[in-house]
């Protein structure tokens, strides 16, 4: 059962029981139940508000500089987050490799944003980077919940621990950057752009750490977390090829690489993880056309665009803003500006 620090009936009783108890003849029980209902309602209201006002969820760091906090969720549920603090900024390594990966990789991502884009953490004001590891029991996912990162251990078959790959950490933290910049709505094309920026910055931070050029890079997402029980070598690829086909669990890679194949259904919030394949491929083509290190010119164009977009921006606005960013950064008629237009044209724009 979940632990409760105040009202003992707050956490363990479902709403229908609380409703019954709130009408109890026993005044003490009635009060406890009503307090619990109020607390739950307040928590839901708080979470809804934080989703629309991200600045309020940012935990300021001491000195407004790199400040990492790693927590152990100890296989607890989402409600147990963040868990027990096990490593703070400047602390020595722990015996838990997962904790150290979350700590080290979030530091790499912080350094990447600071050195390449002069950005001070997710909110550009030095907010703390909070990571929780060992979420749930063999939990096959990782996510940014609006306030922090959370990583599952994987089931050891389909996925291994999600902290193992720097691109996973870069992806999740970039959702935080998106939240604190244009805050792209997480559905349809704006949601696909949200996923796209997370994928782009995830691969760029990996390439930056490895010192790879665009040609040397694999351009895959999640390759290092795939387990022995899947035929998939990665979850997504920027190249014009499927990441996996006929996998017993994952099936076929659903990502299109051209606008004509865009998914138009309602699943996946309107295809946010599916249609991100289109701008992903455009970014890959741009990086290959420009050559050299992708976090340089292509990355700069994309980061400038990220700050120019707004909550409901769609693919067409993305095209317009990347072209405007290339123009502003590198000039009219520049190789970079032409390469941006060429990349978008190749994927159907």
């Amino acid at each position: 059962m979940l632990e409760c620090s105040h009202n003992p009936i707050h956490c363990i009783l479902p709403p229908y029981i609380l409703d019954q108890l709130s009408q109890s003849a026993d005044a003490k029980i009635r009060k406890l139940a009503i307090d619990a209902i109020e607390a739950a309602a307040a928590m839901r209201a708080q979470r809804m508000m934080l989703a629309t006002l991200p600045a309020m969820s940012a935990i300021p760091s001491p000195g407004a500089k790199k400040h990492r906090l790693a927590y152990d969720a100890k296989h607890g549920s989402m409600w147990s987050l963040p868990g027990t603090l096990v490593r703070s900024e400047g602390d020595k390594k722990t015996r838990d490799a997962t904790v150290n990966e979350a700590y080290d990789y979030s530091g790499h991502v912080y350094d990447f944003y600071q050195k390449i884009f002069s950005r001070n953490s997710l909110d550009d004001k030095g907010m703390s980077l909070i990571s929780s590891v060992h979420l749930g029991n063999k939990f096959n996912n990782a996510f940014w919940n609006g306030e922090q990162m959370a990583y599952g251990d994987g089931d050891g078959s389909l996925f291994v621990r999600f902290t193992k790959a720097l691109d996973v950490v870069g992806h999740e933290l970039t959702h935080g950057v998106v939240t604190h910049t244009c805050n792209l709505q997480y559905q349809d094309e704006s949601g696909a752009l949200n996923e796209h920026f997370a994928d782009v910055m995830g691969v760029l931070v990996s390439q930056w750490r490895a010192g790879q050029t665009a040609k040397q890079a694999a351009w895959t997402v999640g390759a290092e977390i795939m387990g022995p029980g899947t035929t998939a070598k990665c979850l997504r690829t920027f190249k014009d090829e499927p990441a996996y086909q006929g996998d017993p669990i994952l099936g076929d890679d659903p990502q299109p690489k051209h606008l004509k194949d865009k998914y138009t259904g309602s699943a996946d919030q309107g295809g946010v993880h599916i249609n991100s394949g289109i701008p992903n491929h455009a970014f890959y083509l741009l990086a290959m056309e420009i050559g050299g290190r992708a976090w340089g010119k292509a990355g700069q164009i994309w980061y400038r665009t990220l700050r120019a977009l707004h909550q409901t921006s769609d693919f067409a606005q993305m095209v317009t803003e990347t072209e405007a960013s290339a123009l502003a950064l590198y000039g009219s008629g520049s190789i970079e500006q032409k390469a941006v237009a060429k990349a978008w044209k190749a994927v159907g724009f």
Partner: protein
């Protein structure tokens, strides 16, 4: 009765479908699940986020279906605990 957990969103993105071994569930968990399915209030929902969530899909013997979705970004403690118990008895469904 068959119970499925469909995990979606998050980093993975691809929906992962698990089937719960109903025979492994205690009577208390089954009862809590039934009541949660019936009494879960719709209410205002937070906007969708990249965190994703989990959907409990209950397919009854008469073919009727009940679903309940929980966002990882806005967990409800009582449902969250229930999902944890279901996950402990669930295995991944293979597509082929």
């Amino acid at each position: 009765m068959r119970i499925f957990l469909i995990e979606s969103g998050g980093f993975v993105g691809v929906p992962l479908r698990y089937e719960v071994d109903v025979s492994a569930l205690g009577a208390a968990v089954k009862s809590a699940l039934e009541r949660a399915m019936v009494t879960a209030t719709a209410g205002p929902q937070p906007p969708p986020t990249s965190a994703g969530g989990v959907c409990i899909r209950m397919v009854r013997d008469d073919g009727s279906v009940n679903q309940l979705t929980l966002s990882h970004a806005a967990p409800a403690p009582e449902i969250d605990e229930l999902v944890q118990r279901l996950r402990a008895c669930a295995t991944l469904v293979h597509k082929r």
